[in-house]
Amino acid sequence: MITLYPLSHYGQERIIWTNFQQLDSLLSVAPRETIIFIHTDWCSYCRKMEKEVFTKKEIAELINDNYYLIKLDAESVEEINFDQHTWKPQSFKKQTGVYHPLASILLTNQKMIFPTILRYDKTFKLKAVQQKYLSSKELASFLR
């Protein structure tokens, strides 16, 4: 599988979101820490983070240089392939409070509150969790 992920870039400001499908190959070719941003449709703080925090130049640069960034809709009704497994949703109709199995697994032992930002090391072991809105300053210090 050819990954169209630019592993090097110069002065780029736009943040790069990848997806689970690509993540498997990316991690085997060029391991990095991974950040997963879990959100829902109705979570207004999540929308705000996506629009205003992740788009900030310093954050975009910090993430593009050092991490793989994925967002996951906790109530998604799509099939997701990741880590040699296909995660199928419980139903094809979106409903508040009905979570995608991948989201449930990633949030094992956590409360289902959003936004949740998960940080994994290069071997995909959970390193740190934040379960609230983070401003760009707070996100930067979470990532360092």
Partner: protein, 765 residues
């Protein structure tokens, strides 16, 4: 010292949480009521609580989007399956008014009804007055054809018995409440919380019938929206409104601001084509803002400000200056309302101190008068002098302290309020010059000794100064009173079982003798102006209000239902009433006096059904009686007319109700059907200066709205909406004709069949 050597045995409790269809719910919070054990369910919905004491205790399970489940577990329970039901009725919504700080609606000891943006939309309301009918026990009606003066009546008591708050502050003075309900655009309102009955004496004991708390928007995201609503009233008169709101919050969440505004133009509507309007001409421009700043994580400063400019006119010959017409009531109002609040949190957010100040300044130019049917030179002179000026200022400042103990909450505060009103119509030698000041201090303790029982015990002490001078032609009156009043309040909430909640309460209230909202308004009957004059030796009015209610929530299969049955009884001692005097002058006088003791009692019923997240139905009704203990004088006897007496309150139907049904047919298409039922009522009618009491018939108003949303772009939506209000044209058919009409003879729905359509664009959800 005896050390207990008896310890309970311990065991492990396992369980599984799933929804009604059997699907596992992960991330649900499971906790024991005594707070010792909490855990979270895993991806298969399973959980385990280890080493819990083997005794009978209560367990609570909550998850977003689901109704919270409370259940008793026995020492013998080791594995349990729990089923959670979806929360489509938003029973767990957070409200402020019942206890003056945020609490979940279901946990609030006093019933709080919340009106939110969905209802404003479903009824196509552009101003607050249009939405308040959709609540059990609440009615809004129009009292005057010439000026559209509307009142909100809670549980059958007139407008002046309810306290209107803006962001929990009582800045709405008597003057504001005359026309204020039409002046507040729904675009500035996040939600309205209505608490019926004096159970909410935290906000001022004047709230005998209840409180209406208007809470303005608190933004999170950067949003904007512009909406145009166009209505054709009775097929003839246009009512066009453009409103906008936009909000910005900095990404660090430390600063934020919202702006909102509205511009409205309504043409007058003449139902019976006699040349005199039944619905006024109205121009309104409102602009406001609310901003906050958080210097740190534990403090916050909020500032809000709004300006309202309104022009309204009713009567005939709108193209002429008021003093050349047969009748005109014209009002030009300019109001500024503003406030600032400082909040500070202590001890890990368990304690909070707030300091606040709010104020309002209104100037109003009025014209109440006209040449009448066949004008003489005296009439002309008087008409030219019927212009009036009103200045009104009010101010409130105070501090409040809240302490959240583990289960209990203590709230206390002290508040100072001030109001000065000066209303002058030189042509009639009519002056109202009134100052009221008060200091109030309150304390309330919310006690939760058991998980199923909560009690709210509160007391408020007010010391009031009223200093008013009133003049009408040759008559001069005054009201000078200072006195203190203790007003206790007690409310209890008891969870009889998982499905049934009981609430009961008692509150005391009072109203000091002063000019209330109706007194600032001048009516025209039979070509003469009618003024309200304060009586002599008025005594303070006291009230005792009792309420009891049952709230049943039950799920039938997938359908969430909730039923509220509430009984209320309010007793009024020395209630203020007005009596039409018999003097036959060029003006008529309604004198404000203390009436015989009165009581209002009845039942409110509200039913909520939500079979799914796309369909919901609310319907409710009130059956009540409002009466004096003995026949009360309405109008003095005079030649040709006996004294008019009534035991029942006028303008209060014994039965009224509402309906609100919403269907989200597809993700983009929504259908709303709303309706209001007004039962028959007794009303006075003056023709050729003789008053009679009449019984009106009942009305059923039904409205339909269809809305379709286009998602043009990720950040841009467009909604087209349209529909019919009052589709069966249930509207008064026997309006008086001509200049000598009784402009008070107006009852029932406030507008005839009206077609409404519009468009909304912006970044909204």
């Amino acid at each position: 010292m005896l050390i207990s050597i008896y310890t309970y045995a311990q065991h492990t409790l396992k369980g599984k949480i799933s929804n009604h269809e059997g699907k596992a719910i992960s991330g649900a919070t499971i906790s024991l009521e005594n707070g010792t054990h909490t855990t979270v369910s895993d991806t298969s919905g399973n959980f385990e609580l280890q080493k819990i004491t083997s005794q009978r205790q209560s367990i609570q399970i909550s998850a977003i989007g689901y109704q919270t489940l409370k259940q008793t577990i026995l020492p013998s329970d080791t594995t349990i399956q729990f089923k959670l039901n979806t929360d489509n009725l938003h029973l767990n919504e957070v409200v402020v008014s019942a206890t003056r700080y945020g609490v979940s609606k279901k946990e609030a000891p006093v019933i709080v009804q919340v009106l939110g943006p969905k209802l404003f939309q479903a009824t196509q309301s552009v101003a607050m007055s249009e939405t308040l009918n959709y609540q059990p026990g609440v009615r809004v009606e129009n009292n005057c054809q010439n000026c559209g003066f509307s009142q909100v009546r809670l549980n059958g008591l007139e407008g002046a018995y309810s306290q209107i708050l803006i962001n929990s502050r009582s800045v709405f003075s008597a003057l504001n409440s005359v026309y204020g309900l039409d002046q507040l655009p729904t675009s500035m309102i996040d939600r309205i919380e209505v608490v019926r009955s004096g159970g909410s004496a935290l906000f001022g004991a004047n709230a005998i019938a209840g409180t209406i708390n208007i809470i303005t928007k608190d933004p999170v995201e950067n949003d904007w929206q512009i909406k145009s609503t166009n209505s054709l009233i009775g097929g003839r008169s246009w009512d066009n409104t453009v409103d906008f709101n936009t909000s910005y919050v900095d990404e660090d969440l430390k600063t934020g601001v919202t702006f909102y505004g509205m511009h409205r133009n309504r043409q007058p509507f003449d139902k019976n084509k006699d040349g005199f309007s039944e619905i006024t001409k109205l121009n309104n421009t409102t602009f406001g803002t609310k901003a906050f700043f958080k210097p740190s994580d534990v403090n916050k400063i909020t500032v809000d400000f709004s300006t309202i400019q309104e022009f309204r006119r009713g009567g005939d010959q709108f193209n002429k200056a008021p003093h050349f017409t047969a009748i005109t009531e014209q009002l030009e109002t300019s109001s500024l309302i503003g406030g600032i609040t400082y909040d500070h949190y202590l001890s890990d957010y368990k304690q909070k101190i707030s300091v606040y100040a709010s104020g309002q300044k209104t100037t109003r130019k009025s014209f109440y008068g006209g040449l009448g049917e066949v004008p003489t030179a005296t009439d002309s002179l008087r008409a030219a002098n019927s212009y009036g000026d009103t200045d009104d200022v009010s101010f409130v400042t105070g501090t409040q302290y809240t302490n959240n103990f583990d289960e209990d909450v203590f709230t206390g505060g002290i508040e100072f309020n001030y109001n000065k009103t000066n209303d002058q119509i030189p042509g009639y030698q009519r002056i109202i010059d009134q100052k009221t000041k008060g200091v109030g201090t309150y304390a309330q303790y919310e006690w939760k000794p058991l998980s199923s029982f909560k009690a709210l015990i509160g007391m408020r002490y007010d010391y009031i100064f009223v200093d008013g001078n009133y003049q009408l032609q040759q008559v001069e009156r005054s009201s000078q009173k200072n006195f203190g009043s203790w007003n206790p309040r007690l409310t209890i909430l008891y969870d009889i079982n998982n499905n049934i909640q009981f609430r009961g309460g008692y509150a005391r209230g009072f109203r000091a003798p002063q000019a209330f909202n109706e007194d600032m308004h001048v009516t025209s009957i039979g070509g003469k102006q009618v003024f309200v004059l304060i009586g002599e030796d008025l005594k303070t009015e006291y009230s005792n209000a009792y309420t009891g209610s049952f709230n049943l929530s039950r799920n039938f299969g997938n359908t969430q239902t909730s039923l509220l049955v509430e009984g209320f009884y309010t007793q009024l001692n020395n209630p203020f009433t007005t009596v039409l005097k018999s003097e036959s002058n060029d003006i008529m006088i309604e004198e404000m006096r203390n009436g015989t003791d009165a009581y209002v009692f009845g039942t409110n019923v509200e039913l909520n059904i939500a079979p799914s997240s796309i369909f919901s139905l609310q319907a409710g009704g009130t059956i009540q009686r409002s009466r004096f203990q003995s026949e009360q004088l309405i109008a003095e006897a005079k030649p040709g007319q006996e004294a008019i007496m009534s035991k029942d309150f006028l303008r209060t139907p014994n039965v009224y109700g509402y309906l609100n049904a919403n269907w989200k047919a597809t993700e983009r298409f929504a259908v709303d059907v709303t309706g209001v039922y007004t039962g028959d009522m007794k009303i006075s009618h003056i023709q050729q200066e003789i008053m009679t009491l009449k019984n009106t018939h009942d009305f059923m108003e039904l409205n339909l709205r269809l809305g379709y949303t286009f998602a043009i772009h990720k950040d841009f939506n467009l909604e087209l909406f349209g529909g019919v209000q009052n589709m069966f044209n249930a509207f008064q058919k026997d309006f008086d004709r001509g200049a000598n009409r009784d402009s008070n003879y107006i009852y029932g729905p406030t507008k005839p069949r009206t077609i409404t359509f519009g468009i909304k664009i912006g970044h909204f959800h």
